[in-house]
Symmetry: C2
Subunit: 429 residues, 2 copies
C-alpha cells in the first residue's frame, strides 16, 4: 500500500481485523506486506503496525502482487502506478485527479501487460458505481448520468436550503465540521466534480472525455436568495455532474457532453433527498430506465470499504488466473461543447415596474427563439434609479446554451431590465 | 435462451439491436443461437425472429456456451440449468423461486465444473444489487439489508398512502394497471419478497438461509386507518425484506435473521421516497455506512437490462478464460428465528375512556419488560358496550418479538382494552 493517510490507515486496520473473512472470500490469504509513507512518525487516524511502515515505495512495489495507491495527486502516484502495472501487479487507486488527467495512459499500461486497474473508490466514496456502470449496465445504453459527487458542496447547498444561510456561513460551517478543506477551491469551484465526470463519462459512453472539455461552474456565486426562491418554486439547488448522450441541433453531430454546474432539481426527485455530505449518482439507461446509487461520498472508513472491495476482486483474479476486463473506449464519440446542450432555465430579473414591460421582455425572449414556459412577478421589489421595480422569475422551455446566452446579453442591455439577478439551469427530470 | 416471454423477447430484441456495441464491449461477437419456447406461435410483446424459435430446449442447451433461463418456476428450469452447468455452460437466470429453493444445489453444480451462475435480474429487476453485494462490498461486513423488493406491494401501499384508498381498492387498481397478477397471492402475502430475502441474505452473510426460515407476513391485512395514522405520526407503511446480523439476547448465539413484513419507515428516510412500483435496497455495512440502490423492480425491458449485463460478464469470461467467482457460504452462521429479533413497535388500542386506564396499560407493558417510548391518546373514539372509548397509540422502545407477543396477549385479555387495533413494527432507521 502506498499512503497511510485517513483512507490508508483504515484500509490497513480493516485488512488486519477482517483477515480471516477476507481469506475465506478470496480463497487465499491476503498479506499486507508494507505501507509506504513519507513520514514514519506521522500521527495517523488509526494506528498502522510500525513494522509495516517504510519510506521506500519502489522496493515495496517490486515485491507486491497487488498495489493500493492512496497518496493522491499526480506525481509520484503516476510513476509508481506505472511501475506497478509494468511489473504485472494489479493496481487499486482512489486517485480521481490522476484518472481524470492520465487515465488513458494508465489503462493502456494495464492492458499491455494484462494487469487490471481498479478504482471504485475514485467516485462516490463507498458507493458502488464503477462496477455497476462497467458490468451491470454493460448490455444497456446509458443516456444520461446526473451525479451529486462532491460531498462538500452538497453539504453547503443543503445547509443553505435548510437554514437560509448565505454561502460563506455555510462554507465556514463545512470547514468547522471537517467537510471542507482549508483551501476549498477544488470542491466549491467544481474541479473535483469535473474529474469525477470524466471518469463516469468514460465508463458510461466508452469514450475518453478530456478534463478540459468538461464545462465547469462552481457554487461560490450561489446566493441565499437563489436558494430561497428555488425552494418557493418547488426546487432545490444541487451541484450536478451531468454526462449525457447528445445530438448537436445545428450540426447533427451525435456525441457526448460532460458538465458540472449548479442546477435546479425538483424537490420530489430522489436526488433532492440527498442531504448533508452524502453523494448519489442517478443513471438513465435505455432499457433499465432510472437507477440511483446513494451513500457516503467521502470519509476514510467509507472509502476504505470500496478499496477493500476492489482488493477482493483483484485477489480473486490472482487466485483464479485469467485476464481482467479491459477498459473500453471503443465508441470514441465526439465530445460536444456546452453550447450543444439543451436544457431549461430559470432567470430572475429586476425590472422596471411599469405597463408594457412584460410584453417587452417576452418579445426579447422570442426574438432569440427561446420559448417561455412560466413567468411569475412579485408586486414590487424596491426602487432603482428612483423608478419602482419588480422582480420577475421566468422559466423557459428547453433552449440551447447559445440561445440563452444571447438572450441574457439582450436582457442586460434592455432599458426595462434593472438587473439580471440569477440564471440557473433546470434539469429535465 | 430458454423462454420467450416478456423478459425473453426483450432480451432477444436488445441482443439483435445492440449487436455491434455488445461485441465491442465483450471483445467477441455474441450469437443468439436459439430461443426455446413452448408454443412457436404464441403472441409476444416483441417479435423474436421465427427461425430462432424452437421447442427443443435440450438440443439448444447442448450447443450453447451460455444459457439464459427465463421460463421461471421450478421444473423444467432446474433440470435444464443443471444440464447446462454440467455441460460447462455459464448460466444466467432471473428465477428467484428456483434460487430460493434450490440455490445451493445449483451453485454446487456450477462450482463442480467451474461454470458460473449469474442472477442479477432475480432481485430488484434492473437494479444492480447482486454484483455490489458480491463484489463491491466483499471487503466489508454487511450488518443489515432493508429492501423494498416487490413492486406490486409497494404500488399498493404507496397508493393507500397517497389516496387513502383501502387495500382492496388499491389492489384492484394495481391489477388494472398490470402491476398485480390475476392471483396476487405471491406478491401480497410476501412469498416473492421472502424468496428475494434468501438470495440477499446468502450474499450478504455468506450463509445459506432456507426459505422456510424466513418469517413472512403480507400486506392484505393493512387497513386504510393504519396507513393514515402512520402518516400522521410521520411514518409510511412499507413491505420490507429485512436481513440482519443478530445476537440472540437469551442464548448469546450470533447469527442472521431474514424476515418479510410490513413496517413503519420514517417519512424522511430514503426508503420512504420509493414510490409506485419502484424497488430499492438499503444496505448498512460496517465500513461503508448506509448505501441505497434504487430503480425499476420489474418490467420486461428493465429486467432484460440486468440479464444483458450478466451476459456481457459471462461472455467476457468466455473470451478471457479463467474461472469465475465461487458463491461462498463460508460463514455458515446460524439462522435465528423471528423471536430473536429486537425492534420497536407501534400498537394502536381502543381503550375504555376512564381515569386510571393509562396507568393500567403502562403497568401491563412494564410487567413484560417492554419499555414505552411515546403514547398519544385521542379525546374520544366512540362507544363500546355502552362505555365511552378512546384510541391509544403506543410506540415502544426496542423489545423482543417474544416480549411483545406476550404483551399483546395481555392487552387482549385486559378489561380496559376494548380492542387491539393494530400492531406494526417500527424499523430503527
Amino acid at each position: 500500500m502506498l499512503g497511510g493517510g485517513s483512507v490508508g490507515s483504515q484500509v490497513a486496520s480493516l485488512l488486519i481485523q477482517h483477515r480471516d473473512e477476507l481469506a475465506a472470500r478470496v480463497g487465499a490469504g491476503l498479506e499486507l506486506v508494507g505501507v509506504a509513507v513519507r513520514d514514519l512518525d506521522a500521527k495517523r487516524d488509526t494506528e498502522i503496525p510500525r513494522e509495516l511502515l517504510t519510506t521506500d515505495a519502489e522496493s515495496l512495489i517490486r515485491g507486491a502482487d497487488i498495489v493500493i495507491e492512496l497518496i493522491g495527486g499526480i506525481e509520484p502516484a503516476r510513476s509508481w502506478i506505472l511501475q506497478a502495472l509494468d511489473s504485472g501487479a494489479d493496481v487499486i487507486t482512489a486517485n480521481k485527479a490522476l484518472l481524470a488527467t492520465h487515465g488513458p495512459e494508465l489503462f493502456e499500461a494495464a492492458e499491455r501487460v494484462g494487469a487490471q486497474l481498479y478504482y471504485e473508490a475514485a467516485v462516490g466514496g463507498a458507493i458502488p458505481i464503477i462496477r455497476p456502470l462497467r458490468d451491470s449496465l454493460a448490455g444497456d445504453r446509458v443516456r444520461r448520468i446526473l451525479g451529486i459527487v462532491n460531498g462538500t458542496t452538497n453539504y453547503i447547498l443543503d445547509r443553505m436550503d435548510t437554514t437560509g444561510d448565505p454561502f460563506q456561513v455555510a462554507l465556514d460551517e463545512a470547514t468547522r465540521l471537517g467537510y471542507a478543506e482549508a483551501d476549498p477551491t477544488a470542491d466549491i469551484e467544481g474541479f473535483d466534480a469535473a474529474q469525477k465526470a470524466t471518469i463516469l463519462a468514460r465508463l458510461a459512453f466508452h469514450t475518453t472525455v478530456p478534463l478540459e472539455k468538461v464545462h465547469r461552474e462552481g457554487i461560490s456565486a450561489i446566493t441565499a436568495d437563489q436558494v430561497t426562491s428555488a425552494r418557493k418554486a418547488g426546487y432545490v439547488v444541487k451541484l450536478l455532474a451531468i454526462c449525457e448522450r447528445l445530438t448537436d441541433a445545428a450540426t447533427g453531430v451525435d456525441g457526448v457532453s460532460a458538465r458540472v454546474h449548479p442546477a435546479l432539481v425538483p424537490r420530489d426527485h430522489p436526488l433532492a433527498a440527498v442531504h448533508g455530505a452524502n453523494n448519489a449518482v442517478f443513471v438513465e439507461a435505455e432499457a433499465a430506465g432510472s437507477l440511483m446509487f446513494y451513500g457516503a461520498g467521502a470519509g476514510g472508513r467509507e472509502t476504505a470499504s470500496a478499496v477493500l472491495g476492489d482488493l477482493v476482486s483483484a485477489a480473486r483474479r490472482h487466485v483464479a488466473g485469467g485476464p481482467g476486463v479491459a477498459e473500453s473506449t471503443h465508441a470514441n464519440l465526439p465530445v460536444l461543447p456546452i453550447s450543444s446542450v439543451i436544457t431549461r432555465y430559470q432567470i430572475t430579473l429586476t425590472v422596471v415596474d411599469e405597463p408594457g414591460v412584460l410584453a417587452a421582455i417576452a418579445t426579447l425572449f422570442s426574438d432569440r427563439g427561446v420559448s417561455v414556459e412560466a413567468v411569475s412577478q412579485s408586486v414590487a421589489s424596491g426602487q432603482e434609479d428612483s423608478r419602482p421595480t419588480a422582480s420577475l422569475v421566468i422559466v423557459t422551455h428547453e433552449a440551447s446554451e447559445e440561445a440563452l446566452a444571447s438572450t441574457v446579453v439582450d436582457l442586460d442591455a434592455s432599458a426595462v431590465v434593472a438587473r439580471v439577478v440569477s440564471v440557473l439551469r433546470v434539469e429535465g427530470l
